[in-house]
Symmetry: C2
Amino acid sequence: MNILIAPDSFKDCLSAREVASALGRGIQKILPDANCIMVPMADGGEGTVESVIDATGGRRVELKVMDPLMREVPSFYGITGDRETAVIEMAAASGIELLKEDERDPWITSTFGTGQLIKDALDQGVKKILLGIGGSATNDGGAGMARALGVKFSGKFGELPVQGGGLLGEVEQISMEGLDPRVTDTEIIVACDVDNPLAGPQGASAIYGPQKGADREMVDKLDRNLAHFALLISNHLHREVADVPGAGAAGGLGAGLMAFLDASLVKGFDMIADITGLEEKLRGADLVITGEGKMDGQTRFGKTPFGVAQLARQMGKPVIGVAGTLDEDAGVLYELGFNLLMSIQEKPGDLAWSLAHAGQLLERCGERIARLLSMKI
Amino acid sequence: MNILIAPDSFKDCLSAREVASALGRGIQKILPDANCIMVPMADGGEGTVESVIDATGGRRVELKVMDPLMREVPSFYGITGDRETAVIEMAAASGIELLKEDERDPWITSTFGTGQLIKDALDQGVKKILLGIGGSATNDGGAGMARALGVKFSGKFGELPVQGGGLLGEVEQISMEGLDPRVTDTEIIVACDVDNPLAGPQGASAIYGPQKGADREMVDKLDRNLAHFALLISNHLHREVADVPGAGAAGGLGAGLMAFLDASLVKGFDMIADITGLEEKLRGADLVITGEGKMDGQTRFGKTPFGVAQLARQMGKPVIGVAGTLDEDAGVLYELGFNLLMSIQEKPGDLAWSLAHAGQLLERCGERIARLLSMKI
């Protein structure tokens, strides 16, 4: 029996690979002959680099780049086992988690460090770059990232050291002349699960500005700046990116990646499924197990287990979803490709206990799955 | 598909019937054509009367009897749907829960009320009496029970109003002449899951005396009294009951029931299985579900789910065990007839929450069982 184990990570607890391994160990205790195929998944957010490294036998690259406030910080990205593809989490250079609460200021925070990560990946000779853009601290339309790769912005008095969303309003010229030429030969795929346009009431500034530290007045100015930036991109680069769904992701980094690097935006799940070869691996599976820390009604909106289940259903494969917490409304998932949902919990007990014992609980959940497979009814 | 649902009660939470109903509701939500056969179980202890009434369509009889300190208290017993059998929990008349902590005193506590329950059942014309004897407050060798049914005890100065284990030492004569004659025509079956002899280091007084309020000195005297009582029973009634396993159950009530009423002691599970027709119902089942509030390594020592699983295994039926708490050592049950153990828990949370939501959790566990039955792998 071929059992595909393709979970997301259990947040604050275990990586996707650890989850898959624990389930697999449990299954093989009871069914030593079962062939467990581990495909640690991710959704383009935190854990994406680790999962892709784990799934492809790749490696982690560590380096120093500029954080959102242009201070040097340790960062990282991944390279797949075949060395063809780099995988980057923008949050590792430009993420809000890198700032203290009172340092959040989208007027000046920059995606420059993300550009440095891309540049380093190009130095490694990859043909393809996968980029997850969740959790940004920035609202600069990707201008910082573009500068790190050689794009020049100038205003009334010459070149502008654009840093943050505040200075975007003063840009009058964009020059692509200095852009790193390797960008052209590199396929850049961005994992993006939001649909926001660059500017306007549903744009980057209005929707995500406040959580990045902008007050109402700053939101208005940032929004006008991004709209102005879109106009320049249209006039000088002849690209219409402002209203592409996802242009407003990560403070407009979505738009910048499309405009300056000719990147394509895809769903996070599709990106990961592609790089892990999920679809191909699903073909040979007799049973599919997926899951994440918490499964509920929200799971159907682009989360990993839902994506795995959808793909499995298309191929007529039975799917078991495993979670630490199954919320009451998780039942809707039964109409969306899941055949069985299981919680790893075995007794009443608090969250801290459960997180601390998640590995054992997952292993025993794997045993339980193997036992139900062995039941002859 | 025929699904036999034979759980014990979930202690402090739901009766066996409520547990079975909730599981059945969940199963039929997903598999409306499944034939769920509900057999609420018990182990001869608390909940036995309720389960037998539920399993046989019987009724509850309410009456007043004497508590262990000879005060009138409301009590009850059950009569099966066919009116042939009464089912009595001795704790409903002579139980330790009827006393305050500082009222516990096995020197004077009596099983008289249990005798009254038996007498009332005889008045109803039953052919058989099932008696669960867990949780007693007494150490009187069943003398109180016997007196309520007409047995006379006398000492140096005539008839003794034996009340409690204290006066047993003064008994010199036992007269069965006044014994209710209907006892002879009535089969009396006692559910007893302990093996203690009447007296000695493993006897009723030594092992259970302290928890009933006896200090070390009183334990010694009570033990001598029971040994003396056994001698009288041997001399006057020509019955050797002192060393029969279970003679020491319920403060020697086990011995008294054998000596005075010719009762047989059986395992609690066997008694309930017999009255509920469990074995016959098992024959037609495709799947058996059992369970109780907590399942762990102890479950294998005479508890209901273990008994159900053993019987089911003999017939080659698959068994699922359902519990609120699956303790870590529950795994041993997989070698003892259980094919699958499931906890009803779906997320981390405290015991109070789980108890308050046990009905819903059981229903969803039933759904989950139906879904796993529906999975085609």
